[in-house]
């Protein structure tokens, strides 16, 4: 019967200890820096356009085929404001289908898509998880604001120059 008594003592000890749970809707667990939420599109502040060119590489390598993208000629390029010849026209991700694997981020050549910290899947309408370009950019902008994200290429270039200066 000793084991049983020991069990009672253990539960008594935990009873007088502080609970370890979070009061979820009121208080959120901090999200880790690397947390992969939904894939979102990033906004190039310098030229006021998305980084995405609609090249479809992410669409092709998506294991669940949850994305669609359409490319168009970039009007800003014609005006000479942007170096991007092509730009994304429409982009849709069905976040209900997305498995958050991050392959789209790995394959993207333009640092245009990123795994955000957004993770709320519950929506008010049946197909509300189909996010169009506007919403993806909006979420991406929020992520950019939150984390001070900069494209990896830019970062690498800066680091290289900093090193060169040293």
């Amino acid at each position: 019967m000793l084991g049983n008594l020991k069990g009672l003592l253990v539960t008594f000890a935990t009873m007088i200890r502080k609970p370890v749970t979070y009061q979820y809707p009121k208080e959120h667990k901090p999200i880790e820096d690397r947390y992969m939420g939904f894939p979102v599109l990033m906004w190039d502040e310098k030229v006021e356009e998305p980084y995405c060119t609609g090249c479809m590489v992410c669409v092709r390598y998506c294991p669940t085929q949850c994305m669609t993208a359409v490319m168009k000629d970039n009007p800003l390029h014609a005006d000479g404001k942007s170096s991007r010849r092509k730009i994304v026209d429409t982009f849709e991700i069905n976040l209900g289908r997305c498995i958050v694997c991050g392959i789209c981020v790995d394959v993207c050549n333009f640092d245009a898509i990123e795994m955000s910290h957004e993770h709320e899947l519950s929506k008010y309408a049946r197909n509300d998880n189909r996010s169009d370009l506007g919403r993806l950019l909006e979420m991406g902008w929020a992520y950019q604001q939150e984390t001070g994200w900069r494209p990896a290429k830019e970062k690498a270039a800066e680091e290289a120059t900093a090193e060169a200066e040293n």
Partner: protein, 377 residues
């Protein structure tokens, strides 16, 4: 195969009628969508017919249509409690086929995460086994610690369950800077947590009465069934892929494999508890020795491994996972076959359950620790 007639088997007693009880797929203790049709004589089970396949998603067929990089995500979803171990098995298969070298640091990261994954998986087992036996508190203790592990995974891989972190040729990215400190702290907490949960459940007399001597499987039978992992080791067979055919860098660590003596439910339970402690010691050693360096051998995005076939074995928390990969040189595998550990362990269920009580059936099924995601694939 025991012959069972539906008529009454009692002689000179009251006439009794046997009853067919459908246990699952919605039964609270069948661990997923597993279904057993039990023929019971009162509370005693006289026949069992297991049914699986409710979660059959055709993962192996799906692999044939995906490029190698995408298949890792499919392997995440086989045994969704030990994702990293599955990923590792698949990546090792491809690496072996291509004779690809994996950087040293990547191997260490892989081993640390896989062992951590093993602890997480066994913690889940600890909790659910308590629930099966009727104790409602152990699962909370287990989840308290499991939550910390999941947070650690979140910090390293970016995802709590479906990581897609172990890649062909290494791991996705290097571990965060404060990895070593956080892991050291985590190991301490886990040690304490496991000890506490162990004190609560493992040696309580009621629990011992419920699990000792229940569902005994002899070593020869376990081997014949192809059982592996803790289920086999509880029967006293010291078979562990990490020791028998050391893969990755497991030969560099000093660790023991817990083996049982009787092969009953309690042994299967306690082998896992001890295994958690051994895993923590492996993690400690790996953290100590982890070198600096790159974490991935760069490969092309679309891999075309040479023609051939390869079979790799790995030690999952539930037993031996095998990946049989046939390639014809194209960018997609020709055939992928997974040898699912709990599929084989589950096969013995009929033999284990015959002539036990309904209440024992729950405990025995719990002690096998199955995950239907990999049983059905």
């Amino acid at each position: 195969m025991v012959d069972v007639s539906v008529e009454s088997q009692s002689e000179g007693q009251l006439d009794t009628v046997q009853m067919l009880v459908n246990m699952g797929p919605q039964h609270p203790s069948t661990h997923g969508v597993f279904r057993m049709v039990l023929m019971v004589d009162g509370e005693r089970i006289v026949d069992v017919e297991p049914h699986i396949g409710y979660l059959h998603r055709g993962s192996e067929k799906l692999c044939e249509g995906e490029i190698y990089a995408q298949i890792v995500t499919l392997f995440d979803r086989l045994d969704y409690i030990s994702n990293l171990n599955n990923e590792m098995a698949f990546c090792r298969a491809v690496e072996k086929l291509m004779s690809l070298e994996v950087p040293e640091r990547a191997e260490y990261v892989r081993v640390i995460l896989c062992e951590l994954n093993r602890v997480a998986s066994h913690l889940l087992f600890f909790g659910t086994f308590g629930i099966d036996a009727g104790a409602m508190t152990p699962i909370m203790y287990a989840f308290r610690d499991r939550e910390k592990i999941q947070s650690m995974f979140e910090a390293v891989t970016g995802a709590r369950m479906m990581h897609n972190y172990i890649r062909i040729g290494g791991v996705k990215n290097d571990v965060p800077d404060d990895f070593r400190q956080r892991m050291t702290a985590l190991i301490g907490e886990l040690r304490q947590g496991i000890d506490e949960a162990d004190r609560l459940l493992s040696f309580g007399e009621i629990f011992l009465a419920r699990s000792k001597g229940i569902g005994v499987i002899a070593p020869e039978r376990a081997i014949a069934y192809g059982a592996s992992g803790p289920t086999l080791r509880a029967s006293g067979v010291p078979m562990d892929v990490r020791k028998d055919a050391p893969y990755s860098i497991y030969d560099r660590f000093d660790f023991g494999i817990p083996i049982g003596e009787k092969g009953d439910s309690w042994d299967r339970f306690y082998v896992r508890v001890e295994e958690m402690r051994q895993s923590l010691s492996i993690i400690e050693q790996a953290l100590r020795d982890m070198p600096e360096g790159p974490t991935i051998t760069p490969t092309r995005l679309v891999l075309r491994p040479p023609q051939g076939e390869v079979y790799v074995r790995g030690e999952n928390p539930r037993g031996e996972i095998g990946v049989y990969l046939v390639s014809n040189g194209a960018d997609r595998p020709y055939r992928v076959k997974v040898r699912p550990p709990s599929f084989c362990n589950l096969m013995a269920i009929r033999e284990l359950l015959l002539n036990t009580y309904v209440a024992d059936a729950v405990v025995i099924l719990g002690s096998l620790d199955i995950v239907l995601g990999e049983v059905d694939r």
